[in-house]
C-alpha cells in the first residue's frame, strides 16, 4: 500500500474515535487530497453516536487492498484519484466490493453524475464543499443502515426465490407423479396382454424347435420387462414410496444386494472386494429395501461400464460428519456411516460428472437406459437425511459414497 506523509497522515492509518461504543462504524476514506481527508476524518472522529473508526488511503488500489484486510462497514470514495477518474472510479470499486455501502465524494455539483452514481449502486453523492459534521454523520449512518436493510431484503428475496423454486419443483414432481401414474396404468395393461400373448404363443409352439421363434419370443418378454422397469423407475422418481425404516447392519445390506446380483451376467467378470473396517459393529436406521436398491443400482452401473472385467470394492466405515465435505442433509454433530462403491472402470468425464444425478441424463440411451437410476438413488439416500456423492476421473475409475447419518443411539449401541 502506497503511503503518504507519515507524520501528518500515514497511509492506512486508523483514526480512532474516543469512547468507542457498540455503535462504532468502521469507515474507509479513499481520498487523495490530504487536507480534505484530514478534515473529514476529524469531522467523523468528533462524532459519538455513532462513533467512527476511519482508515484513510489515497488510491483506488489501496482502497481495494484495505477492503480485503479490514472489516469495513462503509466507504467514502472520492471520484478523482491518482489511479482512477470520474464515475469509472465508483464502478470499479463497486464491482470489487458490491456488499459494502459506498458514498461518493466529488468536487463538482452535478445532478447527472450523482444520479448515475446512485443508479450504479452508490448510497449517496456528496459535494465536498457542502459537507459538514451533521451531513457526513447522517449520510454515513444512513448509508450503512440502508445497505444493511438492502442486504436483509436481498437475503429474504433469495430465500423466497429458493422457496418458490422448491415449490415449483414439488408441484412439478406432483404433476409428474399424477402423469406417471396415469401412464403406468395405460401402459401396464397392454404390457400385460403382450406378456400373456407371448407366453401363450410360447406354450402353443413349444414343441417346434425353430430357435428363431424361441429367440423372438424371449426378446418380446425381455422388452416387456424392460418397458415395465422404465415405468417402475418413473413411478419411483415421481412418487417416492414411504420409508419403512429398521435397524440394520450396513454389511447386511451389502451382502443381501450381492446375493440379488449373483446371477447377473454383467458381474461375471467382476471381482468383488469387501472391506468392512468397522466389522459391522453398529446399526443404521434405514429402509433396507431402498438402500439395497441404491446399492444394486450402483453395482449394476459399475459392472456395465467394465465390460472387459475389473474390480468393485465395497467399503463400510463410520466417520464424524465434520471430516466429510459439507453435505446439506448431514448434521455436523452426527456421525455418518459411509458405504463406498469403488470401481476400476473407465471413469466419468468432468462434463458428465456434474450431470450424473440429473433426471433423464444417461450415456446408455442406446442400451436402454433412461437416466433415472442415479437420480432415484440420490433421492432415496437424501430421504434418509443422507447424501450420495461421486468422485471420478477418466481412466481412474469411479467412487460413489453413500453417506447416512447415524443416530446418537446407534452410535452408543456399538458393541
Amino acid at each position: 500500500m502506497e503511503g503518504r506523509n507519515v507524520e501528518a497522515f500515514p497511509a492506512g492509518s486508523e483514526v480512532s474515535i474516543r469512547d468507542i461504543k457498540n455503535s462504532t462504524l468502521r469507515i474507509l476514506l479513499v481520498e487523495d487530497d490530504e487536507d480534505y481527508a484530514q478534515l473529514l476524518s476529524f469531522r467523523l472522529k468528533s462524532q459519538q453516536n455513532p462513533s467512527f473508526i476511519v482508515t484513510c488511503v489515497r488510491t483506488l488500489e489501496e482502497g481495494l487492498e484495505c477492503l480485503k484486510k479490514e472489516s469495513i462497514e462503509g466507504v467514502l470514495l472520492d471520484l478523482s484519484l491518482p489511479d482512477s477518474r470520474g464515475l469509472d472510479t465508483f464502478v470499479r470499486f463497486y464491482h470489487e466490493a458490491p456488499t459494502v455501502p459506498i458514498v461518493v465524494l466529488s468536487n463538482y455539483e452535478s445532478d447527472q453524475l450523482a444520479l448515475e452514481a446512485v443508479k450504479n449502486g452508490a448510497q449517496d453523492y456528496l459535494v465536498k464543499a457542502h459537507v459538514d459534521d451533521r451531513i457526513i454523520t447522517r449520510v454515513m449512518r444512513y448509508a450503512v443502515e440502508r445497505k444493511r436493510i438492502e442486504d436483509n431484503l436481498r437475503e429474504a428475496y433469495e430465500k423466497l426465490k429458493e422457496a418458490q423454486k422448491e415449490l415449483i419443483q414439488s408441484e412439478k414432481l406432483s404433476a409428474l407423479g399424477r402423469f406417471a401414474m396415469g401412464v403406468a396404468h395405460e401402459v401396464k395393461n397392454p404390457l400385460g396382454i403382450i406378456l400373456g400373448a407371448t407366453e401363450f404363443l410360447g406354450l402353443k409352439i413349444k414343441n417346434q424347435s425353430d430357435p428363431d421363434v424361441q429367440t423372438g419370443l424371449s426378446k418380446i418378454k425381455e422388452s416387456v420387462q424392460r418397458a415395465n422397469g422404465i415405468i417402475q423407475n418413473l413411478l419411483e422418481f415421481s412418487c417416492p414410496p414411504k420409508l419403512g425404516k429398521e435397524k440394520v447392519k450396513p454389511e447386511e445390506i451389502i451382502n443381501d444386494t450381492l446375493e440379488l446380483l449373483k446371477y447377473r451376467s454383467s458381474l461375471a467378470n467382476i471381482k468383488i472386494l469387501k472391506d468392512f473396517t468397522d466389522k459391522g459393529n453398529y446399526f443404521i436406521n434405514v429402509d433396507k429395501k431402498q438402500m439395497e436398491q441404491v446399492l444394486f443400482n450402483l453395482l449394476v452401473n459399475a459392472s456395465e461400464e467394465m465390460t472387459s472385467g475389473g474390480t468393485i470394492s465395497l467399503k463400510v466405515y463410520e466417520t464424524p460428519t465434520s471430516l466429510l465435505n459439507k453435505h446439506a442433509n448431514l448434521s455436523p454433530d452426527q456421525s455418518a456411516c459411509v458405504i463406498e462403491v469403488i470401481d476400476t472402470g473407465p471413469g466419468i468425464s468432468k462434463e458428465n460428472l456434474s450431470k450424473v444425478f440429473e433426471p433423464f441424463f444417461t450415456t446408455k440411451r442406446n442400451r436402454g437406459g433412461i437416466g433415472l437410476g442415479l437420480s432415484i438413488a440420490k433421492m432415496m439416500v437424501e430421504n434418509h437425511q443422507g447424501d450420495l456423492v461421486v468422485e471420478s476421473e477418466p481412466g481412474k475409475g469411479t467412487r460413489f459414497k453413500i453417506l447416512l447419518p447415524m443416530e446418537q443411539e446407534e452410535t452408543l449401541k456399538r458393541r
Binding site: M181, A184, H185, E186, V187, K188, N189, L191, G192, I193, I194, L195, G196, A197, E199, F200, L203, K221, V224, N228, L235, C239, P241, K242
Partner: protein, 130 residues
C-alpha cells in the same frame, strides 16, 4: 381342477391369462369384463379364487370386493388384486380390505401360478380332477 374367475375390463388380458392357466391343465378359468357380470358369475361358478382388477368402468374392483364379502355365498372366496394401478393409496386401501394379495401387471404366468397356489393351499383348496 381349481376354478379361477378373472374380473377385468381388458378382454384380451383376461383371454390370455385364461389360456395360459388352462394350458397347464390345473385350472378351469372363466372371466367377466365388468364388476356386475363378475359378481353374477362368482355366485354361480363358485370359483376357488378370484383375480380382480381395480380400475374398471362402472363398479370398480374395491366395490366388487365389498360386494363379494357382503354375500354369504362368496364371502370365503380368496380375492387377489391383479391390476395396473400402482399408487400407494390404492394399495393401502386394498390391504385394509379382505383381499389376499396385490399383484401388479404385467406378471409372468409362472409367478401368478405360484401366488395362486400359495393362497389356495392356505385356504385348503385341492385339485379335483374332473
Amino acid at each position: 381342477m381349481k376354478r379361477i374367475l378373472i374380473i377385468d375390463d381388458e378382454k384380451d388380458f383376461c383371454y390370455f391369462v385364461r389360456q395360459n392357466l388352462e394350458l397347464s391343465g390345473d385350472y378351469e378359468v372363466r372371466f367377466a369384463t365388468n364388476g356386475r357380470a363378475g359378481l353374477q358369475i362368482a355366485g354361480k361358478f363358485k370359483p376357488d379364487l378370484i383375480l380382480l382388477d381395480v380400475m374398471m368402468p362402472g363398479m370398480n374392483g374395491l366395490d366388487v370386493l365389498k360386494k363379494l364379502k357382503e354375500n354369504k355365498s362368496t364371502l370365503r372366496i380368496p380375492v387377489v388384486f391383479l391390476t395396473a394401478k400402482t399408487d400407494t393409496e390404492t394399495k393401502q386401501l386394498a390391504s385394509s380390505l379382505y383381499n389376499e394379495a396385490y399383484i401388479e401387471k404385467p406378471v409372468e404366468t409362472l409367478i401368478l401360478r405360484e401366488k395362486i397356489e400359495k393362497i389356495l393351499s392356505r385356504f385348503g383348496v385341492k385339485s379335483e380332477k374332473k
